[in-house]
Symmetry: C2
Subunit: 418 residues, 2 copies
């Protein structure tokens, strides 16, 4: 059987399984997820052995230290993966929830009901923990999942997949609820992305290159979890002490994540009072500052921020700083240079706050809080599969509810249309 | 300026306008829509004159009678278009509605708020009324719209567009809220579908060929309003009188629309009691019946239904009929051959009803009612832009609410992440 036929076979089986998932109770799903969590611990030795193969190959290929770190599985990391599954088991089941219900004058009783999306494909890079995280969330929300991880982590992913599959077999659930593409052939992704008759949604998880490639090739709807070029805007009417705490937190607390601040905007009337002390504190924390002309006049000895800086997700202790004329200019800058992820205004002014909330075209818009809160757990939604920077069908943290769609169930007693 | 540059210019302007739409009040939007409705009446003579040009060209090209009928505008049709706009003005504004709101333990107050999608492109064929319907719904939901109609109706569309634009100018609203691509160059569509930096959503409106082409080329998310191969399944436990009324209504009341029944499934234990009288009534109404082997044994003198029949949207007085062994076989047939639009079961049995509701993977699933109710107005949602057969981001009737997305507005008082 050729590659294309093999993939169609997998996708068809996944679709059939997804339709049978509609009949599985929440308690059974939770039991299976707990068994998956246990399966990871039980198969720890096998997983670590497989991971060592991947690590050896990566070292041979002289992969970067960061790459090797992302790839490495330890006892601790496997325990964390297992605990994440336990947490997913404890979350409420989104499937079957009634979004709204109403009765028509002719007696039709219309229910808009949350149902699984169907078949979800996850295309990811070298983090093996994505394998178990995605299986847990997709299974809990009643979807079949097709995993396609980076070829560099194939042995680790297969070992994790085997450990999770035990729970599916134990409970005699349909084949094809969880699937992994086990060929390293790179053409597999292109072929998979053509199967819009069977796969309902693709989520690429990884760097910009991967996401762009998937989005440009796919015939299946894609939800992108893109970069985060997040801003904090310190308004003319900001409480500058609060602004300093928020900006410091947004940049420094964990710079390598998508909801960290990459660019700080400061109103011209706050700049002289705010920037010197703020930048001193940043420098002490090891943050490299790149500023606009005015910033360079106020804070000596810093680099110039280029157009490219304003479009860069540093994911590092680097920050671009720009002084703006007005809240309008701040909003304009964010909408033009940002990535529609998370942006915050610090202000005590009612009108500035409302204008910012309305006009900034981002998934999460904050007043007087750090952008670092954009996260499923911080929002109280539970574990998330990523932060969508798309507008359709989910925006911001994608937790269990965002892995569902809806259908209309209509109850009649003989109604016909006249 | 080349075609590509022209289109980028239009899309950029549309994006800028969409961001300014956030500040426009519901009452102003409604006033503008009422002025648009009036503009159609005021410019009726111009519109009909432009339509005559299109009709003359269509006759020259020997287009079909159905094509010419769809293209023709009369006093009555323009009045209907105007009335549709009046109705949209009266519907509640979906923008700004709070979907949910909660407070976190740290005091963050999170609002999930309905906002416009941004820029919506509509690619359609020769029905000029689509122009005003789409402008009304997109404008009301706060979106900029880019219209690209069939070249055969270009003169009519431009005249309608001009009549609607008057209202935008009168109220000094931003250029680019409503846009029309006025070149007949077919390359324009392909170029437009690449502009995912500016356009948020594409909706193709028309035949299967158009929809497939747009879906396969577009880099922008597409919501498909696809064919409706709708089923009614007459269960073993059906009230056969009710079943006859529902099936007759679903097939005959208006056969040319997407929510009409194309295939009737009958449980083997109901077939002998049900089919003879039902089919007699269909024949009297001029319905051609194509049946499976068993149907052919029960009802004499009918054609055989082929595999192709089961996959065909007739949009005509033709019906395929199949006798099935069980509710499972009915569900399996619907999921395999249907188009995930609208399907109904007629039954007095609780378990059959629940199984059908859960397992049929369609936008609208009915018990004991005609499929003909799948419609924004019939659901009580108001005017719709189409019936989505996709699962993301909207499913079933797409009314005003489905033309919005959401963002999170988060109110803090200095919260930082620890």
């Amino acid at each position: 059987m050729g590659l294309k036929q093999q993939l169609i076979q997998i996708a068809k089986t996944a679709q059939n399984a997804s339709r049978r998932m509609m009949n599985i109770s929440s308690s059974l799903k939770n039991e299976v997820i707990r068994d998956m969590a246990f399966g990871l611990i039980e198969n720890k030795a096998k997983i670590i052995k497989a991971n060592k193969k991947d690590l050896a190959a990566a070292r041979c290929l002289k992969q970067s230290k960061a790459f090797i770190d992302r790839l490495t599985l330890s006892d601790k990391r496997i325990k964390e993966m297992s605990e994440s599954l336990e947490e997913v088991a404890q979350l409420p089941d989104p499937v079957g929830g009634v979004i709204s219900v109403w009765r028509r004058p002719n007696g039709l009783w219309i229910h808009k009901v949350r149902v699984p999306i169907g078949v979800i494909a996850i295309i990811y890079e070298s983090r093996p923990n994505v394998t178990s995280d995605c299986v847990g969330l997709c299974f809990k929300s009643g979807n079949s999942v097709i995993l396609r991880g980076g070829s560099e982590s194939l042995n680790s992913n297969l070992a994790i997949y085997d450990a999770l599959s035990g729970a599916i077999k134990k409970h005699k659930l349909p084949d094809g609820i969880i699937n992994i593409i086990d060929t390293p052939d790179r053409k597999a992704v292109d072929e998979l992305l053509k199967l819009d008759d069977y796969i309902d949604l693709v989520m690429p998880r990884g760097g910009e290159g991967l996401i762009k490639r998937v989005a440009s090739v796919s015939r299946i709807p894609v939800i992108k979890h893109y970069k985060g070029i997040c801003h904090v805007y310190v308004d003319e009417y900001a409480d500058l002490n609060m602004a300093e705490e928020i900006c410091f937190n947004a940049k420094v607390q964990r710079p390598g994540v998508c909801n960290a601040m990459e660019c700080m905007l400061v109103h011209k009337d706050s700049a002289i009072r705010f920037l010197p002390h703020m930048c001193k504190r940043f420098k002490e924390a090891g943050v490299e500052i790149r500023g606009c002309d005015i910033t360079q006049k106020i804070v000596k000895g810093i680099k110039h921020a280029t157009e490219k800086d304003y479009r860069t997700e540093y994911l590092d202790l680097i920050l671009s700083v720009k002084v703006v004329e007005s809240v309008d200019e701040a909003i304009e800058h964010i909408n033009s240079y940002g990535s529609h992820h998370s942006d915050s205004i610090v202000t005590e002014n009612y009108d500035s706050a409302l204008q910012f909330l309305r006009q900034v075209d981002s998934a999460c818009v904050y007043v007087n809080a750090s952008t670092r809160f954009t996260d499923g757990n911080q929002f109280g939604l539970g574990a998330e599969i990523g932060i969508s920077t798309d507008k359709l069908h989910a925006r911001g943290p994608m937790a269990l509810e965002e892995l569902t769609t809806y259908k209309y169930m209509v109850f009649g007693n003989g109604q016909v249309r006249t």
